[in-house]
């Protein structure tokens, strides 16, 4: 089964680290991706730029409207994700617990949903 591990971070998750610490975190994160690759768990992983760099897009009555960032009142934001293949939820949890950022932020683990074919009742 495939699971999406979403890395949630707080406003000072990164700033709490000095430069050397941040570099080490990056190294560890990339090393963990390689490790998951070697174990056949890895499908994809990306980090995201900060929430201030994003735009929310909506279409209402045929008109595009845009607003800043996702939810300005919440401090937690999505910092990145790893898409993995795991045998079951508990294996996915073990893999998520190994993500270096789990020690600083929090990882949300969600199984992917396969959309049933809408043409078949």
């Amino acid at each position: 089964m495939r699971y999406l591990c979403m890395v949630h971070m707080g406003p000072d998750t990164f700033s709490s680290l000095d430069e050397a610490g941040q570099r080490q975190l990056d190294r560890d994160s990339m090393a963990y991706d390689r490790e998951l690759e070697a174990a056949g768990h890895f499908i994809a992983a990306e980090a995201l730029q900060g929430p201030e760099s994003g735009v929310m897009v909506k279409v209402r009555n045929g008109e595009i409207s845009t607003t800043d960032g996702p939810f300005s009142e919440t401090k937690e934001y999505l910092g990145g994700f790893i898409l993995i293949e795991a045998r079951d939820m508990n294996e996915a949890i073990r893999i998520a617990a190994g993500i270096p950022l789990a020690k600083l932020g929090a990882i949300e683990v969600r199984p992917l949903y396969s959309i049933p074919d809408p043409e078949r009742p």
Partner: protein
């Protein structure tokens, strides 16, 4: 690939158990187990499966774990020297999988210090190799709830540093009881599902029997033999217990040609073996009762005198209101409905079984046989009030309709 799935079901628990002993850590061992099966999926199609898959997987898992530690050391997560010492520590002479490893894992997963609901989930996942999702589906629970139970169970093992060991003889009886109880609960959840649509979830029954067999192979204690006999004899009647439309068929009305004769023979032989040891365990007595039922060619030929005597024995070994209820039913069969009814009504007056559906339906049944229809109807309705299981509801409703006049 299906081959490897079969190997997983048969061996993952035992390989994991040995890896836990070698690596000293649940999560590392699981990681290594995964790596070992990954290696097998790449190599076996080319070279053919090894003669001893379990030993192959243990050795591959151990090798991969060492490899992983080396890689982590390279990336600076663990200092090199630590890796080097651990590596030496991980190369013990006795890396061969031994039967006791599997036994240790069962005892650890069913440790009394682990919350009861986590014991069942841990045993099914770590020993039987079921996935979190399969366990959740079998228990009609949400996957995140089961997943967290398993995580909490493992944390508990770590916090308390529960030893991976087979308890010494002074503790063995009590600890074995806990293991047998977990297996019994798994079977019961499959056999008489307490809620939901399907009356029987066969895969849980099969899993419980497999676990119990494994336990008996490792340690043929009389109580374990008794439980295995009980599970085999109950399960042998599974096909006859549910009608074509998913409705429950009572023992007396079952098509006995659907019973699994080979399984009955095996169970009956086990009862005899277990009965030779004193004191006779409650599971063994229950198995003996099941064996008497299975021996009867038709419901009318059932030896109720023998069954009532076994219930007397069971009441001494494991006194409970439910056993008293079953004994009352057996006595009703031996001496007639009035005798049974007196016992059940006395039992209901004591209050402990007031919310127990079978107490009301058993009373209703005896009233029906005595032709006291109005009272029978009221008793069936009382039973309905405490029944959440669909097939059982339909069964009782059918009985009420049968009373009509």
């Amino acid at each position: 690939m299906t081959d490897l799935e079969a190997v997983w079901r048969a061996e993952s628990g035992r390989v994991l158990a040995t890896l836990i002993r070698l690596l000293g850590d649940f999560d590392r061992a699981e990681e290594a187990l995964h790596d070992a099966f990954l290696a097998a999926s790449e190599q076996w199609p080319k070279t053919g499966a090894p003669a001893n898959p379990r030993a192959w997987l243990v050795s591959a898992g151990r090798f991969k774990a060492i490899d992983r530690i080396r890689r982590r050391a390279r990336f600076g997560e663990i200092a090199r020297e630590i890796a080097a010492t651990e590596e030496e520590a991980w190369m013990p002479e006795d890396a061969e999988p031994i039967a006791d490893d599997a036994l240790r894992l069962i005892f650890t997963c069913c440790h009394p210090e682990i919350p009861a609901d986590a014991r069942i989930a841990l045993t099914l996942r770590e020993v039987a190799g079921l996935t979190t999702e399969e366990i959740a589906a079998a228990f009609l629970a949400r996957t995140p709830a089961i997943a967290q139970r398993i995580v909490r169970g493992k944390n508990r093992i770590r916090e308390l540093a529960l030893p991976y060991e087979v308890p010494g003889s002074e503790q063995l009886a009590e600890r074995l009881d806990a293991v047998l109880h977990v297996i019994y609960l798994i079977f019961n959840e499959g056999y008489s599902a307490s809620h939901g649509e399907a009356a029987i979830r066969g895969e849980l029954c099969a899993e419980a029997i497999r676990l119990c067999r494994q336990l008996v192979d490792l340690r043929p204690e009389p109580d374990a033999l008794g439980l295995l006999a009980l599970l085999l004899l109950q399960d042998a009647r599974r096909a006859a217990r549910v009608g074509p439309s998913g409705d429950i068929v009572l023992l007396a009305e079952q098509d006995r040609s659907l019973w699994d004769r080979a399984q009955i023979a095996e169970g009956t032989a086990l009862v005899r073996r277990a009965f030779a040891h004193q004191p006779v365990a409650a599971y063994t007595i229950e198995a003996a009762i099941a064996a008497v039922h299975c021996a009867a060619g038709s419901a009318n030929e059932t030896d109720w005198t023998e069954i009532a005597a076994l219930y007397d024995l069971l009441l001494r070994a494991d006194p409970s209101p439910v056993v008293e209820l079953n004994r009352a039913v057996a006595i009703a069969m031996r001496d007639g409905p009035e005798a049974g009814l007196r016992l059940i009504e006395a039992l209901l007056e004591r209050g402990e079984l007031g919310r127990f559906r079978y107490a009301h339906s058993a009373r209703a049944d005896l009233l029906r046989r005595l032709g006291r229809s109005a009272e029978a109807r009221a008793a069936y309705e009382a039973a309905l009030q405490f029944t959440e299981q669909e097939a059982e509801r339909r069964f009782i409703e059918g009985r009420i309709r049968g009373l009509a006049n």
